[in-house]
Symmetry: C2
Amino acid sequence: MWMTLGMSFVTYSTNLPEDGVWMRQALGLAQRGLHTTMPNPRVGAVVVNAGQKVGQGFHCRAGEAHAEVLALRQAEGFTQGATLYVTLEPCSHFGRTPPCVKSVIDAGIKRVVIAMQDPNPLVAGQGIAQLKSHGISVTVGLEEREARELNIGFVSRMERQRPWIRSKVAISMDAVSALATGQSQWITHDLARADGHLWRARSCAMLTGAGTVRVDNPRLTVRSIDSSRQPLRIVIDNQLDTDPHAQVYEEGHAVIFTVNPSRQLAQPFLERGVRVMLLEPDLNGRVSMPAVTKALHSLQLNEVLIETGQRLNGVFLQSGLVDEWICYVAPSFLGLGGAGLAQFGPLADLTQRIDLKFVEVKPFKEDLRIILRQPHSLEWLNRV
Amino acid sequence: MWMTLGMSFVTYSTNLPEDGVWMRQALGLAQRGLHTTMPNPRVGAVVVNAGQKVGQGFHCRAGEAHAEVLALRQAEGFTQGATLYVTLEPCSHFGRTPPCVKSVIDAGIKRVVIAMQDPNPLVAGQGIAQLKSHGISVTVGLEEREARELNIGFVSRMERQRPWIRSKVAISMDAVSALATGQSQWITHDLARADGHLWRARSCAMLTGAGTVRVDNPRLTVRSIDSSRQPLRIVIDNQLDTDPHAQVYEEGHAVIFTVNPSRQLAQPFLERGVRVMLLEPDLNGRVSMPAVTKALHSLQLNEVLIETGQRLNGVFLQSGLVDEWICYVAPSFLGLGGAGLAQFGPLADLTQRIDLKFVEVKPFKEDLRIILRQPHSLEWLNRV
């Protein structure tokens, strides 16, 4: 019981009517790597021979075998003349593993159906060209919109040189995120909170501000659900005045974005294994938003999840850098005096409002999850 | 593309599998009287003979023929041994029209399927008893939940001695209803506004406060859609200090609820044909909410639609008297300093929050319409 709003999925002409079925299976397989492939993309593959599936695979972890290689391995002995369905263009270069196109050609595959080209502009199309040069029939663009959505962060990193950035908030119906007393746990219910951890699990990094670290002392780790890895934790701490023993810095694997060059203030963080990155300040003496985006990109992050307070969310909202807002809304009213969703304004005129787009609404027991996206982010995502 | 949340419709055992189909047709017919039957209920009827529909009807306007009479009239010559499907128990007493049960008996109807009993506790079951005493087979309770929903205000007036009260608001995603400048037109888009007029058209009365009359000078009439009648307009004007020439008082058909007994201040309103009702004050010297409810009931109102500002909405929200909140939400952010949805608080603790229930979410082009209901109102409605 959910709905997707205003997303127009392009339909493609394909060679065979069953192509769509196999490609959707491949997309489903790719999903199994949702929490683990980063910084690599999630990829799934299916090998079909004479209408029968003879092999399938998905990419699980960077450094491990690619989806198409696993599928071909499983299909051994039945690959001659078969069709390979793969959600991303097979690689043509030696990375941590040998190029996949070689395995495809060696296996005697006759036809390859690809959901989307490699989004890396430097190599895009090279795998396809090699396949074709070996007489293999190639179809590209089947379920492309879904394939982009699946790797929204990876594709963004390759095409836009920046991660896909989400901000997650939990609010009441009157958009209150915390009472004036600071009380904010829990506005929404169990199911919505568990869903929140799924967004963490698929993210390369979490991002918060110094204020949230001081007030809530969050861990920003994936809990509630099984996960073999934890996202990087990033704190915007302009003056390096958070407590180096805050929970977010435990277990290392954390980064601070700051504008304060003090080696002395940085020292206790460095000693805890936290990386401190000095960024350019904006006119208010806080890390500038373009600098934050650049720094996030330099860390090779695909999807970044912001969980922070109304002040920093206000800065992010105004910057236009947050692609997606994940809003859990409780059917409650909390009244005046509390914290809001994103602090900015006041506006002099309605024309100054910030317009996003609703893309999905889904009930989570008592609560709703409402997803909004930046119009320009949607425009980029939909250009297929 | 819409969804109904958390409404569990009771399923009924019925005599015949096609009963549900005919009753849903009768409910559909009843809907045609949505904007016109008040203060009467909306009723639809279908006559079926040997599996064929031979007549149908719906109640259109108080004083005009009842649905079952119209259906029987259309079915003339084919009513002997037929089944009558009707969304409300046929009346057994002389009102503005002769009792319907007499027509049913005279027509030779063999079986009557009724969605719900008459909700008026004084006459409930009398029509059914009369039908049974004439050897007619009677089934009651098919699609009862839908039938109650259809006449939510009428049923409320009969069972709870008060109308079904809705409040309609248009807000941004950060729950701002107007900028500090007072600018509020238009936060939501065309389609959402047109839908708003449908709620007005089905309401017996509109209700607003003196502040809204002063700031927005609304007409509170049904526009955008065809409608042969206009709802009564009610203004809570505690001190009788609104402008008697405000648009809401034009064309008469308006009522003021006040605590100010000044005959002199009332005079200009009375001269314009506006009725002035003196109500009991609360401790703050404003009309007390129980007094408002009683006054609304005395006006024989089924459904009342509140369109007002954050102050009065806050009073209504806290009173628990609003059964339903119709929230049009735009995918926009308007920031600090504006008016909210309902003013109350601040709360000392999260446990003091006001909890409602989401019952429906529906997209209206760019906007969402989110409907919430009071838990106790839902409990009343669901007791079938």
